[in-house]
C-alpha cells in the first residue's frame, strides 16, 4: 500500500501531528508502528481531524480508530468530504 491511497488532506494532517513524512502515511499505518503515535498524539490527531473536517467522534470510538484506514472509514461514515 502507498500513501497515494490516503486523501491528501488527511495524509498531511497525520504527517504533521506524528512528525513523519507524508509518504509514510499509508492506509495500514497504525498506532505503535511509528514511535510518535502514542495515546497523546492519538488524541491530538483526533482533535486536529475533528477541527479540519468539522466532525465529532464518539469518545468510545476514538481508542478504536487505530489506523489510517480506520480513521478514513470513520470520517466517511460521518459524511466528511475528504
Amino acid at each position: 500500500m502507498n500513501s497515494q491511497q490516503v486523501p491528501s488532506s488527511l495524509r498531511d494532517i497525520l504527517a504533521d501531528i506524528l512528525e513523519i513524512s507524508p509518504e509514510q502515511v499509508t492506509p495500514d499505518l497504525s498506532i505503535g508502528m511509528v514511535e510518535s503515535w502514542d495515546s497523546f498524539r492519538h488524541l491530538q490527531a483526533i482533535l486536529a481531524i475533528e477541527g479540519e473536517y468539522g466532525v465529532q467522534f464518539d469518545p468510545q470510538r476514538i481508542p478504536e480508530l487505530t489506523s489510517v484506514s480506520l480513521l478514513q472509514t470513520e470520517l466517511e461514515k460521518k459524511g466528511a468530504t475528504l
Partner: protein, 648 residues
C-alpha cells in the same frame, strides 16, 4: 482565514527560513501561519521552531526556559500550542509534565522529577476537583453550611504547598485559578443570587488564591476564568473531551489558553516597557491639527471624539502606574500647545502628563533616539503608537527593539482594544517607585539643565544635595529589589536575574550582604535605585551583583554603594573585596567600574572557563570611600526606617 494555498505558501517560507537558520523570518511567517489556529499548522511550527533553537537565541535573544507542569488534567495536546505561542513572545520552552495528581510529591520531594529537572518555572494547573473537590456538593443548596470552612481549608492546603515549595526551590510559580462552573443545578438565577452558590464560591476562591500568590515570592496568579469569560464559557470547554480524556479546554480554545498562560508567566521573567510614544493626529485625537485647527480636531464626549478620549484616559491610567508618556508628532509645536490649551476641557491629558514631547518635522526615528538618550532608557523599553503605516514601518525597520502599534485610523473605537491586547505593560507588581516615576524623570530633565549651567562636576554634584540611604534588600521592599535585578541592564556588573528567594539567601548567610540604596536630592526622591549582593568566603568578600538604575549613574552613588559594601565586609572579617564583571551587549557603561576604583584584575587561573572577569582590592590598605558630596543615612539596617526618612 487563511486559504489552503496561503497556508502551503507560508509553510514553504517557514521551511526555507528554518533551513537557512533565519530565525526572524521563521517567526514572522510562523506568526502568520499560527493565526489559522489549525493543530496541524501548530505542530508544523513547533517542529520548525524546535529546529532553530540556537538561531532564535543568537539572532533574537530568545530566552530559554525550563518549565515543569504539575497538573491534574490532560495537557499534552496543548503543549505544542504553548510552545509556539511562547516563541512568538520570544521564549523557547523546554517543557516537562508531571503525573496526574502527583503534584504534592513532585513539588515537595527534593528527589522528585521536578526537583531534578531544575525548572525556571513551575506551572500549577489543577482543576476544581483537585483543589476543592467537596465544593460542588457543599454548594448544592446555595446556602451551604460548611462552604466557608471548605474554602479556608483549601486555601490553607494551597498556602502550605506553595510555601513549602518555595522554602526548598526558587523556581518561579504560576498558579492557575479555577474556571467558574457554567452550568449548575441551581441554574443561572440561583447561581447569581444565592450566597453560597458554586459560582460564587469559586469566584471567592479565585480571589483568595490570587491574594495567596501575592504573599509568595516570584509567584503569579493566572486567572483562567477571565479568559474563559472573555471568549465565551460555552465554547471554552468541550464536555465530551473533558469527560472522556480530562481535557480541560476545548480544542478551539487551545491557542487562546496558551496565549494567556504565556502572557501571565512573562511577568515573572520580563520587565514591562517603560515609555509609550504616541502620535497626535488621528491617534491622540481625530483629524489633522494643521488642517482642521484646534476647534476642528475630534476629542471630547461626543462621537467620534469619545473614541480618542477613551484612548487618552487609558494612557493616563498607564501613566499613574509609572508608564512614561511621550508625544512624537510631526506638527508645529506652537499649534500643539494651543490645541492643548483651547481644547483642555475635551482632553483627558494635559502636556504636564507627558515626560517629554518631540513635536517637530524631524524623522520620528530621530525623535525616539533622542528620547532614549534623554531618559537614559534602552529602546526595548519603548512602545510607539502611530496611525501612519509608513511611520510604523520605518520605526520597525530602524529599531526592531521598539514595539510598534498601528492605530486603527478607520476604526478609532478599537484604539484601546488594540493597545490592551498587547502585553507590553503587563506587571503583576506595582511599587511606590513606579508610581513616582514621572516626577523623577521630570526632575532628571531639570538636573540636566543645571548640569549645563554648573561650573565643574563636583560643584554641580554638591549643588544637588544627594542623600543616599542604605537598607536591607528585604525592607526595600523585596519586590523592588527583585524588580531592579530583573530589569537593570546598563549599569549591572553581572546581570544575574536573581529571584526573591535567592536574594533572601544573601541576607541569611553569615557575612552575606543584600543591600539597596535609596536616593533623593533637591529635585526629588528617586526611590530605591541601586542594589548589591555579596558574601564572605574566607577572608574575601565576593560581590555577586552590583547594579544601579541608569537614571542615577555618574553621581558617585555607585562609589558610595561600593564603599558601604567594603565597610561592612571589613566589619564581617574580610580583608579583600572581590568584584566580578560579566560583559553583556548592554553593560559596557560599567566595564571599567572596578579598575576605576583601584581594583586589580585577577590573573585568570586554570579554573572553570567562564565569561566572568574578577577584580581584587585590598581592603586593609585602600578601602573605597564615599564621595564627599553625598550625605549618607541609615548605615545600620534598622537605624532609620524608610517611612521616617521619606514621610514627605
Amino acid at each position: 482565514m487563511l486559504s489552503d494555498s496561503e497556508r502551503q505558501d507560508l509553510r514553504r517560507r517557514i521551511k526555507d527560513a528554518a533551513s537557512r537558520q533565519d530565525a526572524g523570518a521563521a517567526v514572522k511567517f510562523g506568526r502568520e501561519l499560527l493565526a489559522s489556529g489549525k493543530p496541524a499548522d501548530v505542530m508544523f511550527c513547533a517542529s520548525a521552531f524546535g529546529g532553530i533553537a540556537d538561531a532564535l537565541k543568537s539572532q533574537m535573544g530568545t530566552r530559554r526556559l525550563k518549565m515543569y507542569v504539575v497538573r491534574s488534567v490532560t495537557v499534552e495536546p496543548i503543549l505544542p500550542f504553548l510552545a509556539t505561542e511562547a516563541v512568538l513572545s520570544n521564549y523557547a520552552l523546554d517543557l516537562q509534565v508531571g503525573g496526574y495528581g502527583s503534584y504534592v510529591d513532585e513539588m515537595l520531594n527534593p528527589q522528585s522529577a521536578l526537583a531534578k529537572f531544575e525548572p525556571d518555572a513551575v506551572l500549577v494547573l489543577l482543576d476544581l476537583e483537585e483543589i476543592a473537590g467537596r465544593l460542588p456538593e457543599l454548594c448544592a443548596d446555595g446556602i451551604g453550611a460548611g462552604v466557608e470552612e471548605e474554602i479556608e481549608e483549601c486555601l490553607a492546603r494551597m498556602a502550605q504547598l506553595l510555601r513549602s515549595f518555595r522554602s526548598g526551590n526558587s523556581a518561579r510559580i504560576l498558579l492557575q485559578g479555577l474556571v467558574v462552573p457554567d452550568q449548575t443545578s441551581l441554574g443561572d438565577v440561583g447561581d447569581a443570587n444565592l450566597p453560597h452558590s458554586l459560582a460564587n464560591a469559586v469566584l471567592q476562591l479565585n480571589q483568595r488564591l490570587a491574594a495567596l500568590c501575592r504573599t509568595v515570592s516570584d509567584c503569579v496568579f493566572f486567572d483562567v476564568d477571565r479568559l474563559a469569560a472573555r471568549y465565551g464559557r460555552a465554547q471554552w470547554r468541550d464536555a465530551r473531551m473533558f469527560l472522556a480524556s480530562r481535557l480541560p479546554v476545548s480544542a478551539d480554545s487551545f491557542r487562546t489558553y496558551s496565549r494567556g498562560l504565556v502572557r501571565s508567566f512573562s511577568t515573572l521573567f520580563r520587565a514591562p516597557c517603560k515609555v509609550l510614544c504616541t502620535d497626535l493626529d488621528n491617534t491622540l485625537w481625530g483629524g489633522v491639527l494643521g488642517e482642521d485647527g484646534p476647534e476642528g480636531i475630534a476629542t471630547g464626549s461626543a462621537f467620534p471624539g469619545n473614541c480618542y478620549l477613551d484612548y487618552q484616559k487609558y494612557l493616563k491610567q498607564l501613566s499613574s502606574r509609572g508608564i512614561l508618556l511621550a508625544i512624537v508628532s510631526k506638527n508645529n509645536e506652537a499649534d500643539v500647545r494651543d490645541a492643548f490649551q483651547i481644547r483642555a476641557a475635551d482632553l483627558a491629558l494635559s502636556l504636564d502628563n507627558f515626560v517629554a514631547t518631540k513635536i517637530s518635522w524631524n524623522e520620528k526615528s530621530d525623535s525616539i533616539r533622542e528620547l532614549a538618550k534623554e531618559l537614559s532608557l534602552g529602546l526595548d523599553s519603548f512602545v510607539f503608537v502611530d496611525d501612519n503605516p509608513v511611520e510604523c514601518e520605518a520605526i520597525r525597520q530602524q529599531f526592531p527593539e521598539v514595539a510598534v502599534i498601528e492605530a486603527p485610523v478607520e476604526e478609532p473605537w478599537k484604539l484601546v482594544e488594540v493597545l490592551a491586547e498587547q502585553p507590553f505593560f503587563d506587571a503583576a507588581i506595582v511599587t511606590d517607585d513606579d508610581v513616582n516615576r514621572l516626577n523623577e524623570y521630570k526632575a532628571q530633565a531639570q538636573r540636566a539643565v543645571l548640569a549645563n549651567s554648573a561650573g565643574n562636576r563636583d560643584e554641580f554634584l554638591a549643588s544637588l544635595g544627594i542623600v543616599c540611604t542604605f537598607q536591607s534588600a528585604l525592607q526595600a521592599p523585596l519586590s523592588r529589589a527583585v524588580q531592579l535585578l530583573a530589569k537593570t541592564n546598563q549599569f549591572n556588573l553581572t546581570t544575574r536575574r536573581h529571584s526573591a528567594a535567592e536574594v533572601e539567601e544573601f541576607t541569611s548567610a553569615a557575612g552575606g550582604q543584600a543591600v539597596v540604596v535609596r536616593v533623593r536630592d533637591r529635585f526629588g526622591d528617586a526611590g530605591v535605585v541601586g542594589l548589591a549582593l555579596a558574601r564572605n568566603q574566607g577572608d574575601s568578600c565576593y560581590i555577586d551583583s552590583l547594579l544601579l538604575s541608569c537614571r542615577v549613574i555618574g553621581r558617585g552613588i555607585e562609589t558610595a554603594l561600593l564603599a558601604y559594601l567594603g565597610e561592612h565586609a571589613l566589619r564581617n572579617g574580610a580583608r579583600q573585596l572581590v568584584g566580578e564583571f560579566i560583559p553583556t551587549k548592554k553593560n559596557a557603561p560599567c566595564a571599567s567600574f572596578y579598575s576605576d576604583h583601584g581594583f586589580v584584575k585577577r590573573v585568570s587561573s586554570e579554573e572553570v572557563p567562564s565569561d566572568s572577569i574578577f577584580y581584587e582590592l585590598d581592603l586593609t590598605a585602600s578601602a573605597p570611600a564615599s564621595p564627599k558630596w553625598i550625605t549618607l543615612e541609615g548605615n545600620e539596617s534598622n537605624e532609620l526606617s524608610a517611612s521616617a526618612v521619606f514621610s514627605s
